[in-house]
Assembly symmetry: C2
Homo-oligomer: 352 residues x 2
């Protein structure tokens, strides 16, 4: 018999990421990327880099980026952890903080990677159902648990919960790390960061992939108490000593230093979102009021999968999840106004 080693292989059901077509003609509204380029200084840094330094390992402490982010957020230099995108950061956080025997809890409709990390690391978990309006019910997170993770704004629902919602959860769960995944927070009404001073069990996770237009550079980070960040660094140093390259570190710092470009780019996405929120509602779509860089909409007559397929035939990619409760919905990333206009024309034709 061949492949007898397969008995020792870990069984998993991997996360399925949105497609990254190599065809440049695609209108790509399927992975919540930013339609605008990174801050101009990012280009200068990469195109002017002395590549001879690549012969050496990068700084394992990632200190230039960690310090820049800490200063930006007004926290200590020992309160930021950086990784290869927020997926890497969340993966390390799951490993670090969810090592107890009790099940962790997260919403049943949320980022589909949470159960995948739980499975691969053999972390017991349970899900709490969101309401018919997709709102998360804070009371569901008051029972005994080994940890909590909630995306805010939540994906793919695009709904944001206010700071007191999280304060209630944090206050009632002193023995659990509560991870708030703020991937989309820069398009929303605000962060739970002010709670960090009061609650030691809060970990906030952020990404460069959405608001900072740097999905391709793979940078994410967490903000927490020094004790929490130290615990994450111990796990990180038990997996891979050197993660972010010098190129990622330097360009990550450049992005943080250009607040004007960042604010402008976020404002443009939000303006386009609010404009096309109204436009799509006018042709029979409905869904939550988005606080993200995407819309989570369904049409009054045509099914989600049907629209998904017909858009795809026209090289317009959006995201559709074949999951009963959200099967009617599409997750549509906010592109440029021009891209949204072409999407609108295509949708008008499909739903007419």
């Amino acid at each position: 018999m061949q492949y007898k080693w397969m008995d020792n292989v870990r069984k998993v059901e991997p996360y399925v990421a949105g497609e990254q077509p190599k065809n440049a003609d695609v209108i790509k509204l399927n992975t919540n990327e930013n339609p605008y380029p990174p801050a101009p200084e990012v280009r200068s840094i990469i195109n002017g880099m002395d590549t001879d330094i690549l012969r050496k390992y990068p700084d394992p402490t990632i200190s230039d980026l960690v310090n820049a982010l800490a200063d930006y957020h007004g926290v200590g230099h020992d309160q930021v952890f950086a990784g290869v995108g927020s997926d890497d950061v969340l993966s390390v956080a799951f490993l670090t903080f969810f090592a107890g025997d009790k099940p962790i809890i997260f919403p049943d409709i949320t980022y589909a990677f949470y159960p995948v990390w739980a499975d691969v690391y053999r972390i017991p978990y349970g899900t709490a159902p969101v309401g018919a309006d997709f709102r998360i019910n804070a009371a569901d997170y008051m029972k005994e648990n080994g940890g909590i993770v909630i995306a805010n704004p939540n994906a793919p629902t695009s709904i944001w919960e206010a700071v007191d919602f999280f304060e209630e959860i944090l206050k009632n769960n002193p023995s659990s790390m509560v991870i708030v995944d703020e991937a989309y927070v820069d398009f929303s009404n605000g962060s739970v960061l002010p709670l960090l001073e009061k609650y030691d069990n809060l970990l906030i996770v952020r990404t460069y992939s959405k608001s900072r237009s740097m999905a391709g550079m793979r940078i994410g980070y967490a903000i927490g108490r020094p004790e929490a960040i130290a615990a994450m660094n111990d796990i990180k140093q038990s997996i891979n000593s050197y993660t972010l390259t010098q190129i990622a570190i330097a360009s990550g710092v450049a992005s943080v230093n250009d607040e004007k470009y960042f604010a402008l780019s976020c404002a443009k996405v939000v303006a386009t979102r609010d404009k096309y929120d109204a436009v799509l509602r006018s042709i029979g779509f409905s869904g939550p009021k988005s606080q993200t860089n995407f819309l989570f909409f369904r049409h009054e007559r045509v099914g989600g999968n049907e629209i998904f397929k017909r858009l795809r035939e026209q090289n317009i990619f959006v995201r559709h999840f074949s999951k009963p409760a959200i099967d009617d919905y599409l997750r549509i990333t906010i592109g440029t106004d021009e891209e949204m206009e072409r999407l609108t024309q295509a949708l008008k034709d499909i739903v007419k």
Copy 2:
């Protein structure tokens, strides 16, 4: 009580990487980096890159690099897995293949990260003692086990074992994945790659950090049977969908495509190694005949820690491991001839 969430934190003892001093004056012979820059085309690619593409996620399948490496090694495109340095690749391999209940085995003197990955992923393990000459005894790997990992050449010993040594182990362990960590193979008498056709339980791990002068770009890869690579990709897609950036992928391909530069750069390191092997022996050092880009030497009179400290005072960094069996030894990375000459002068002074 504060920090009650600490009860749920995973307990680990992290790997301690060699120092990455920010001071440019240091003669850095402590992390087995290459003294020569990456292939010239790597610079052109990075300095000419259109950074607007960074707004998009990179290719999650890393196909350009995977295909280039597969073609280079003469294996199928479904036989290569790429990751963020060989540490990432090994970490994924441990998670993937070592999920059984039986202990995995590796030598007691070897890459110090192996027990760390086993601990963080709660993989049971045992070590097999190397001989007084630091040679690995193949018979130790014939008992029941959940997997095997051996570095060849081994680190920090610098010793290479021949292909039939591994064939014996592979043949006797059909139910175990046998990982051969070939980080230093390009400075040695050769790879176990020819065994892959005959044994389905072989996984070979390689890195860009040593022979390809790209430690700072974080690229490693594994070569195995399609079934093994598929299992690793499932685990990778359960941790982080997007790992290598477009910059890493493109510059990784450029390095593979410049075989002439690669061969020349390896030959230079080997020539310097063999020259200073003789020089250091002439002043009282001894140790194995290296098949790597470092020497593992001790001095007949002066202790390892003593030499380590005195070199450090002169801004010459080498690596010393405070572990009983190898406490007398230093691991000295091969630098340029000029760096090795300065090291030699300093050593002469220390041991005189």
